[in-house]
Amino acid sequence: MAKAELMDFDEAIEKYEVVIGLEVHVELNTNTKMFCGCANEFGDQPNTNVCPVCLGLPGALPVVNGKAVEYSIAIGLALNCSIASDGRFARKNYFYPDLSKNFQTSQYDEPIAFEGQLEVPVASGKVYNVAIERAHMEEDAGKLSHVGGAGRIQGAEYSLVDFNRAGVPLVEIVTKPIFDSGSEAPELASAYVRQIREIVKAMDVSDARMERGNVRCDANVSLRPKGQEKLGTRTETKNVNSLRSVENAVRYEIQRQAAILAAGGEITQETRHWHEDKKYTSAGRPKSDADDYRYFPEPDLVPVQPTEELIEEIRTRLPENPASRRARLQQEWALSDNEFRDIVNSDLLDEIDSTVSLGVSAQSAKKWWTGEIARIANVEGKEISELSVTPEDVAEIEKMITDGKLNDRLAREALSGVIAGEGSVAEVVSAKGLEVVSDDGALTAAVDKALAEQPDVLEKIRAGKEQAAGAIIGSVMKEMRGQADAGRVRELILERAKS
């Protein structure tokens, strides 16, 4: 499908008011599934974590996972929601082969958490107060893979269903419409999702890895001419599985809808799919307000009635809220607003925090993560979280630099080896022979050789022009194939020249 006509973004913002709404699904990292005892594990052999309940076999009945309820309450509290004293499950009825019972056990008019709000800062320094409508519990569906037909359901030869994911606990967080974000709408959308991710990660209620679908976002976008009261027709873009995609998809929908409206067209109410590779959305299923899921209270489950004590107990366990944590870290790390925003916008707060806690200075940690690692991610077109590099790796490399075992260039090489999956830092360093030559004998011989080859330079050094040593350092490093500590080489040159 070809890309649609797009209006210039600034022009679109000029002409239309943007209204966005975000639905974020968070997969909880409980040991077991939402309604049965099966392991909640990603990546196992298909259909190995299944039982009569999550396979929807005749006669099987659900039982609520108490841990999932606690995690959901924690999410609700972190989003400043009220917690329902009588939360009810409901059945959402629709036929789809990845849905084992052909209804999803979810919550409808009585969600576990409702009416909250979250402060979300963006790069301009503006802080948006995003109103949360509800956070409700539900179960995930299984996973379909289509064989043949380019992996799409249309034209596939056959399709396979893996029910390992069926019944994995989810919390769906739904915002109220966000009206006033204008040109910052795309950025706000991604900052909001980032913040949700940060929260659930900090609380350890989700693995929060977007590339694995632990956090998924559906972005609703609609436009209306400035001054018009009536809301425009919205689209719901699905499959936005990275922070960058959230931003890009919202931006794209704004531009696409603006072009249609400006040409006198009408927006079709539908779900759309985001294609990160080609950066466009394509039409999915038409959606209407009459979509009928025939919700009714789940008769196989009793209401979830958390006690006041439980709610308060969970509240005391909540981690620091992200805003105050950010303020604290910025102060502890002594970073400027710009430097710190750089970190937040690159979504590297956790990584840098962990690296610093392993003894690395804030500046060095920042340098590695926002510098070399971000560069590699960018080159590979990946999220940093997808790279196999950990704060421990960075700390180890940094320690080797301090100990004089690696120089800056070798350290970068070691890092790229780790990211390429060649092993741990120590393994890469030893396999590639990256460690600097610290044997003064070998270095001294190389220095002597270089001095002998460039007697004019030697004269200059002896005459007190120590900066001339640079030329000798270059020769020595070349001789040592870069595996020498430049500082130590310089010391040796001065020592030998004067002897």
Binding site: G59, P62, P299, D300
Partner: protein, 499 residues
């Protein structure tokens, strides 16, 4: 009561313990009768000779070692075919499960196995328990041993005809609106629906989750109480299962004195719509109770007028969702349509071919009742009626210990008589449905012969969790009848003969 096969389970159990008979002998006796007579009655969909004999041997070993786990150890039993069994195909009376072998045992069946009660086979029922006559079974109707031209009641007509024809000493049924009690009434046997949640529904192929309850089908009240003691109890696999024990029903059933018992006669279930013979027997029973010192009070339950209407909205709504899982994806029949076998078309073709007319009727009704725009008028109103009926019962049970009514408006009707008139069929359950809507226990005991010299039933209801009170009252009324007639009503039944 000379013949062994006509003895109640309580006596058979005593003979097993005293060594007068072995479980293998008893099991073979009933298997022989079942194999010989089933061609007449079509009570069983499957007779499991091999596994039953094996289980009987195991029971005999336990009894010989003095380790019988239950009073009923060694007593063979028949099980309605909507309870899953890993060693026998379980069809729920439907084509869609024609060769379905479940992967797990229902909790009730596990309890029977733990009690070492040999399972003779699986009994017939209206498809997915939808019906009052077994005429909607995909495998042909069961016959009433009193008159093979007549229905044995439904949906549990297989169990009622097996027990009243002495093809099995006792059986398991399930009751959603009267499916245990109505068959008991028209076959002169005893059938009890325990308090909702007293017996686990795990592994009961759901009809309507909020109404279904498993219970005993027997030839006397003590046997029903003994069997409820075996199958009742909290099940962590069923969220709606009651946590606290309701006590030993057998103890209650041995208290037969009705002196001082406050017996409520439900005004709305004492006059209109009941055949004259039914009404006459009912009035005689009231006189028997008065003579025995019981106190008769009239109770008013005005909302009962709406019970059948509410029931036929709630039941189809839940059933339409419960039956969605029969989609050919994971188990059961799979019917390939002509032309392109897309998933939607395979699901549709399977459900079209696999479901019978009554199931389709109720799925359509339920889908409609839950549709957006109709939900409040139908499902919502029905739930309100349900609350009103519960309130009627609350008031009634403040004035009376138990409530009585005829179980059904008529004696057994002939095959085909009501097949084309769903409403007439639905009205059979007018007296039994309120108990399901309120979740209270109910039992039907023989109440003398009425129209066509066929059995009629007396229903006794008690407040929720007061199953014990119900059993005491039932045992008392049973004793009054047995004393009056000199034998059990079932002993008036004609002998089944194979020509």
């Amino acid at each position: 009561m000379s013949e062994l096969h006509k003895k109640p389970a309580s006596e058979l159990a005593q003979m097993l313990r005293s060594g007068e008979v072995t479980s293998v002998q008893l099991t073979e006796l009933f298997l022989d009768r079942a194999e010989k007579l089933n061609p007449l009655t079509n009570s069983f969909l499957r007779i499991n000779r091999e596994t039953a004999i094996e289980q009987a041997k195991h029971a005999d070993e336990l009894i010989a070692a003095g380790k019988a786990p239950s009073v009923l150890t060694g007593v063979p039993i028949a099980v309605k075919d909507n309870l899953t069994t890993t060693d026998a195909i379980t069809t729920a009376g439907s084509k869609i499960l024609e060769n379905y072998l479940p992967q797990y045992d229902s909790t009730v069946v596990s309890k029977l196995r733990a009690a070492a009660m040999p399972i003779l086979g699986k009994t017939n029922l209206d498809e997915f328990a939808m019906g009052s006559s077994t005429e909607f079974s995909a495998y042909g109707p069961s016959k009433n041993p009193w008159d093979l031209e007549r229905i044995p009641g439904g949906s549990g007509g297989g169990s009622s005809s097996a027990v009243s024809g002495f093809l099995a000493p006792i059986a398991i049924g399930s009751d959603t609106g009267g499916s245990i009690r109505f068959p008991a009434a028209v076959t002169g046997s005893v059938g009890a629906k325990p308090t909702y949640g007293a017996v686990s529904r795990y592994g009961l192929i759901a009809l309507a989750s909020s109404l279904d309850q498993v219970g005993p089908v027997t030839n006397d009240v003590l046997d029903a109480a003994l069997l409820q003691d075996v199958i009742a109890g909290h099940d962590p696999m069923d969220s709606t299962s009651l946590v606290d024990s309701l006590g030993q029903m057998a103890d209650f059933a041995s208290k037969t004195d009705v002196k001082g018992l406050r017996v409520g006669v439900i005004k709305q279930l004492a006059s209109d719509g009941f055949h004259p013979g039914i009404k006459a027997r009912f009035d005689e029973s009231i006189q028997l109770l008065v003579d025995a010192g019981a106190e008769i009070v009239e109770v008013d339950c005005p909302s009962f007028e709406y019970a059948v209407s509410a029931y036929y909205l709630i039941l189809p709504a839940e059933a339409s969702s419960n039956l969605a899982r029969f989609d050919a994806v994971r188990f059961g029949q799979r019917v390939l349509p002509e032309g392109n076998p897309t998933i939607e078309r395979v699901m549709a073709a399977t459900r079209e071919a696999g479901f019978g007319p009554e199931v389709k009727r109720r799925i359509i009704l339920g889908t409609y009742a839950l549709s957006s725009g109709y939900y409040d008028a139908y499902y919502g109103s029905a739930q309100k009626v349900r609350t009103l009926i519960q309130q009627d019962f609350e008031k009634a049970f403040a004035a009376a210990d138990v409530l009585i009514s005829p179980t059904a408006p008529t004696t057994a009707f002939k095959f085909g008589e009501k097949l084309d008139d769903p409403l007439a069929m639905y009205l059979n359950d007018v007296a039994t449905i309120p108990a399901n809507l309120a979740g209270i226990p109910g039992i039907s005991v023989p109440n003398g012969l009425a129209e066509n010299d066929l059995p009629s039933g007396l229903q006794i209801l008690a407040a929720a969790k007061n199953d014990g009170v119900m059993y005491s009252a039932a045992a008392g009324i049973e004793k009054l009848h047995n004393d009056k007639w000199g034998k059990r009503m079932i002993d008036f039944a004609p002998e089944l003969e194979v020509n």
